[in-house]
Symmetry: D2
Subunit: 349 residues, 4 copies
């Protein structure tokens, strides 16, 4: 079987587990008052070229929901893409941790928020108007839930629209590494220099094991968030074992190296798809995910050929490349797609 | 420095980290649909001699708050000891995850709930009475927050009082291993056979690393809890790395071996205290914690001598033994206490 | 000025205020343990031809949010029309009181839920699937937010679809009187006989003053709801003054008489619109609301002519008839529409 | 029967219902955008000698819980008396509306918060300490739940202690009129001039009918509170009928006249108690409530004699005087107490 189901079905990078094991020495104060967690702050501040606060958390859902909860009051409205993971796949954690926060979907291409549509949505709620709640934040997903990547300009446009109204900006960076690898920019340019106040910094999907992180760029958010995390059961007493993982994740560029690997496999598959018109891409392949509209029956064929992937609908398949997906596995998928779809003419678009 | 600050300042058992590292092979479905998590269910069901459902979670706070949230409606009252960790040290996570659950403190000796006082508290709220909310659960902490251990009979008495009123019973087992090691009973006798519906099964304080667990004995609680955990960001996508830790924790009796070790060190210190009347015990030493009322200035002396511990007040010190605290460290503490307190006559009680 | 802004800008029926004043005698136990509230239970049970429990509440928002909160767990999904008041105009009270309940919008004509689209939405979430939360209820608005009225069959279809999946059915009856007046059916047929478990029984918009009500048809919902209402600050200590209003509201058919009056005025306007093609109806006029697409500038003209109404967009106007809107006021509106729109040819549809 | 059960069992002042009925004219914008509500702002600002914002709400529970929810984050700790209504009788509305706020009880005499004990409680939680949550507000009940009244100095002491730590101050003024009548001070001196940021302004217990109010002295609290009230279903669409009641309540000093009446009856009873040593007062009678420790069996006798009152325990009875309790009713109670207790010698204290 060749597994394209998700980037969370994969292994962790050995370097990350090694670091975890190496942290198992001596005693250390609990709840983050240890030397690894202090070091983590310095490492991420270096990485982002500014003083940031990093909070390791168990999952991306915790990172997203608690970051959003820190951004505004419980009667707030948070704008996101219709397809955003926070809106479709986190059991309304944002609404729960936010004490009643409402997510409002904004349209756009390829899982992105369109800045003009956001402006329109905001115009529909006058400041002080009571009946809908009040806009407080925007959350954009980088890379998007369709595998596309916001350009720096696109982030800036959304940020500017948000800031004009006094809204905060959150980035769900579950696949931030893939986005940065794609953009070839600095982490700083992709975040706070473009207006991001707080981010969910994903590691799990890109070779991590048991933690992601919240990275805070706007320091006034820190104190409240710290208590919310404690209350949420997201502050490990033996925090060093989480911090050590995150240090290893970014050390020597490991995170970007892994992201470039999975992006590269996806690009290799993308190149192979050019000759297969019956497999229609839902969005440009800019990170490590591939969403394909396939003819009826094609998915059955692929499964018979030994491929694992997610069926999003009767005709929509998702393939995800991991940091350790091999070129041979990519070529096998292309070959199988050719075998199964070769004679099907491409539908007019 | 000799560290008696907490059992969460310590290392993890190497067996647990080894198991985590060994789980880093192949691909595996996310969110608990993996073979390790399936195996975990079997192992714990064997351990508890009944079919249980085990949910790994990141922290004991998450275990407690989500277990309590699964037990009843948001307008519920949960009875616990005044000293219970859920009441004093978890930032009101129970109130938050429970959507407004109220904790009501019940008195008792040594951090226990007194069943008679519980009955009295319950009698003060008539069924259907609206103004206070409605009693829904009791949470008892085993071992208690003063280092004492409920006997099986004591658990049964609380359980019977609770059940007469239709209340559920939760056990905060952050130090369950220490309690079972002390009681010499089966895990089953200490929990569901005594009326416990759901428990927080602690591992972190007893040589664990990054996870504890919720163990469900009353199966009707499972489905709702599963969604609550997902929404709480407590379901790791790479769950295998958590489940592998918990399997190793109980494999070959490791958990009890570690608990016996830390209990044994505490008992060794207890024996040494008999000749030091100026150090007054707040509760019998039945697990791995020691709460000592000390004369003014004594704590300064101990710190100068290189001991680390928590000052609970000007005169109350807490010493916690870890699974890897050595007999030499115990003897050193006794010697230091003798040095510092030897000439101070014991206060009349 | 002639006021078509809302049915909540109007007066209360004198009968209702008279009853309130008449209740100002003797002493009476608080929080609903009074004779008026007991009588209210009997009167509504007679009206609905079954034993119901009636809870007076201050507002329709409270009625909706608390009714929904009583229907299922905090991780529930409640399906409603995209245009439902609970989704667009109650500051996410449902999400708040429900502890994180998520509203999911279902399409349909004229503000209704289409049963087939509901079935499709439900099919997208497998039972036990964790990532989205779990469907728990459907809320339909009768009359709808576009002034249309569900037929008994349409309610039954939605109910059947909901019940097949084990979902509860809530009816937002802010304009229930208008709907019943239109349908000419019994209140029982329009509610529990069609599968409704609980309803928000509106009075304010139809000549009430300071209260609406929750009516419970499924008695197992009552006990929990009672505590939730108390906690929500919706249980007046001098409840008799609320209950007396609601008794007067339904006594001698006053509620239906008033609804027939406002419906009648709307129908009179509808008849007048037939000759004014430039005023395009968004939905059939089946209750007391009229939504008109008007040519640019037409609203300015109407305002200059002394009419008050809501501008929903640059070209969409809402006119609402109250129980005391007069035929002369209706005729004046028709005349003004003719004056302002007479020469504008109707757009092709 | 003579009713001493509560001040909420009583009638409303006719002036208040008259005003409600007089407001039933013309049309008026909904949700508080009417002339009565505008007038209400002016009247209360005059009364309090500063610009205040008044929000009518349905109940004192709503006033308390929403005022507290406006004062700080959901992880806050609110200090109150052990006996405070918010802590004992509102179904944890504060915890619910506050999204997990925790109430922490502070001791003191006669239902008051002792400023020194408050300072001690605050000293136990270091700023930034995560495990308990963070102190955010103090709520004092004026008059207290034992019928005592804080002096201006006592309020100031609590306020100063709170402000030193940056905490906000809430006053639960369910019986504020009784307290002001007792103190003979201005409403301003009893509130914002003594450090109160926001108050629950009770009317119901003192001759009101269907509304109380939140009065905001610190204007930065207003905007958030306005949305919270809307979301809480506490903003009547026909707000004029509530605002008119509150205007009438304070017009021409009606509120203080009624409070002086009920206080006067309580004082008359207090005078009568001097000769009845077997009836032991739990607190000085400074408002309209009387808490009496009575010998076993005495309450049965009083009930046989036709008196209604609340049994707080086997030996503790509460008698509440209403604005329309008569001197004859007071004298009858004194006579009955003499009859029932006359020969019982007073217990040593």
């Amino acid at each position: 079987m060749i597994d394209y189901r998700s980037d969370n079905t994969g292994r962790a990078a050995p370097e990350i587990l090694d670091a975890l094991v190496r942290a198992n020495r001596d005693t250390a104060l609990g709840y983050g008052a240890d030397e690894w967690t202090a070091d983590l702050q310095r490492r991420f501040s270096d990485l982002f070229e500014t003083a940031v606060r990093v909070f390791p958390v168990a999952t991306g859902t915790a990172a997203n929901a608690l970051a959003l909860a820190s951004l505004g009051p419980s009667w707030g409205i948070v704008y996101c893409s219709e397809l955003a993971h926070i809106n479709t796949a986190e059991a309304n954690a944002a609404g729960f941790f936010g004490g009643g926060i409402k997510l409002a979907a904004i349209g756009g291409k390829h899982g992105k928020i369109d800045a003009a549509l956001l402006a329109e949505g905001l115009a529909g709620i006058a400041p002080g108007q009571l009946h809908k709640g009040q806009p407080t934040a925007v959350s954009l997903t980088q890379a998007t839930d369709l595998g596309a990547v916001y350009s720096i300009d696109e982030i800036g446009n959304v940020a500017e629209t948000a800031k004009r109204r006094g809204l905060r900006l959150h980035m769900d960076g579950a696949r931030f590494a893939n986005a940065v690898a794609r953009l070839g920019c600095t982490p700083a340019d992709a975040t706070w220099r473009s207006g991001v106040d707080i981010m969910s910094f994903g590691a799990t999907k890109n070779g991590g094991a048991l933690c992601d992180a919240i990275v805070v760029f706007s320091p006034e958010l820190t104190d409240g968030l710290a208590v919310q995390l404690r209350r949420a059961g997201q502050v490990w007493s033996k925090m060093r074992f989480a911090s050590a993982q995150l240090i290893a994740y970014i050390e020597n560029g490991l995170w970007l190296e892994m992201a470039r690997a999975s992006n590269g496999i996806a690009a290799r598959i993308a190149a192979g798809l050019r000759d297969i018109p019956a497999a229609r891409l839902l969005a440009p392949i800019e990170a490590n995910e591939i969403f394909l509209e396939l003819p009826d029956g094609a998915m059955d064929g692929l499964e018979r050929d030994g491929f694992q992937f997610y069926r999003r609908s009767r005709t929509l398949a998702r393939f995800v490349c991991r940091f350790d997906t091999t070129e041979a596995e990519a070529d096998a998928l292309i070959a199988a797609l050719r075998r199964n779809l070769g004679t099907v003419p491409r539908a007019a678009e």
